[in-house]
Amino acid sequence: MTAPLQKFIKGALLILGLFLAIIFTSIAFPNFERVHWYRQIVLTVITPPQKLITFSSNFVKNAWNHYIAITKAAKENEILKKALANANQSLIELEEIGKENKNLHELLNMAHSINVKSVGAHVIASNVLTEFKTLTIDKGHADGIAKNMVVLGPGGLVGRIGQIGANQSSVFLISDPNSAVDVYVERSGGRALLVGTSYGSSLRPFYSLSRLEYLRKTSDIRNGDVVITSGLDKLFPAGIPVGTIHNAENSTTGLFKKAEVVPFVDLMEAKEVSVIIK
């Protein structure tokens, strides 16, 4: 064997050994709350330019949407006026229901509402390298973020905090294949488990959809029903809007019903989120 080849084999074995040691360290501490130091080094390098690129591209997109594409605004204004009128009508109805709900809660000696503190964060990147559905936000350990904290978007639930860096964290979306949230259907009260990624959807295959599982056969569900968190999983507070039912499946076979859920938040396009600090 030639000397350069021997040198190469030694070098390659050294690097492979080092890499295997790092992998074993990662496996030994799978639930380690913060990312390991070697990941933090790469994240420290990559996060500032990620922030810069995301904010710059958002700025350009906003400029386009608000100033250049203003011709569409007049038409949208008409539609929104009508929607606002309908929303006001619904609001009055909801206020009445709210009063009734409050009275019932008081009667049952239950907590009035969730009293939570939250931290605002910007989405700086998305994970496109794997089948995981995650986002990266610009808040981390230094801002008081901890693992499994609940992340909300404009209008509903987004997911929960995964790995945490010094100034960045990953958010596991509710459409991630590993996600599971205990929910119920607001109209009928039917309880189910919301799991990530509806791979057979005719609406938007694989993209930002979740599905309801373990919904009892006797449960009354319809397309358009609102799904909210139940709080029974002890992870997500009760009453957070999640999405609406689509493709409710009422087959005669099996023990449970299934349905797809379209989240209220456009998960992959979310720009600002808030993290509930426990």
């Binding site: 080849l5 190469f8 070098g11 390659a12 690097i15 492979l16 890499f19 790092i22 992998i23 990662s26 496996i27 799978p30 390991h36 070697y38 990941r39 080094i41 790469v42 994240l43 390098v45 990559i46 330019p49 990620q50 690129i53 995301t54 591209s57 700086i124 990147a125 998305s126 994970n127 496109v128 390298l129 794997t130 089948e131 995981f132 995650t134 990266t136 995964g162 790995q163 990953s170 596991f172 294949p177 590993n178 990530g196 990624t197 791979y199 938007r204 295959p205 694989f206 993209y207 930002s208 992959m268 396009e269």
Partner: protein, 173 residues
């Protein structure tokens, strides 16, 4: 040193682009994966001894940024490099058509391997199902993109500071 620095800059630059500007391009289920094509380029253009350490380095950076368990990308990339080197030792892979076919095959294998590892780690078959529905269009897309990216990467690796700042007079002479 220049060689490794160029690889680190290339990897970080493309990771930045893929996770921000190109995250939804060309579609939500189809994405530009230059990092994987870089591994393919190493398989086609370099010998084992020149390719292995850069591939581990690229895998390390991808693993650090990704939400997947640490090591998934490095293992997948080393397996891809091994497959391409094994193929190049028996088949002539320098024509465009051969490259197109082999990038498609290697992409499909790499996507399946990565999804398989993640499915085993999390004991969740959904990762495998999602990859199964997605891997044909993604593999073909990688192969089309590879026709352009592999020659560009070859030129990029030959880049020197002297070439960038060379005065025009010197070139004309």
């Amino acid at each position: 040193m220049r060689y490794y620095l160029l690889i680190i800059i290339w990897t970080i630059a493309w990771l930045l682009a893929e996770t921000t500007l190109l995250k939804s391009f060309p579609g939500h289920n189809l994405h530009i994966d230059i990092i994987f094509l870089t591994i393919m380029a190493f398989g086609f253009l370099k010998e084992w001894r020149e390719a292995l350490i850069p591939v581990i380095l690229i895998g390390f950076i991808a693993d650090a940024v990704s939400a997947a368990p640490f090591g998934v990308f490095t293992v997948t990339y080393i397996a891809t490099l091994a497959a391409i080197r094994a193929a190049t030792s028996t088949i002539y892979l320098q024509s465009h058509l051969a490259r197109f076919v082999w990038v498609t095959v290697a992409s499909a294998l790499a996507i399946s391997l990565k999804a398989g590892i993640i499915s085993l780690i999390y004991k969740n078959h959904v990762f495998m199902l999602t990859a199964f529905w997605n891997f044909i269009p993604q593999s073909v897309f990688n192969a089309v993109l590879g026709l352009a990216v592999i020659p560009i990467f070859r030129e990029y690796l030959n880049l020197t500071w002297e070439k960038i700042v060379r005065p025009s007079g010197l070139v004309l002479r």
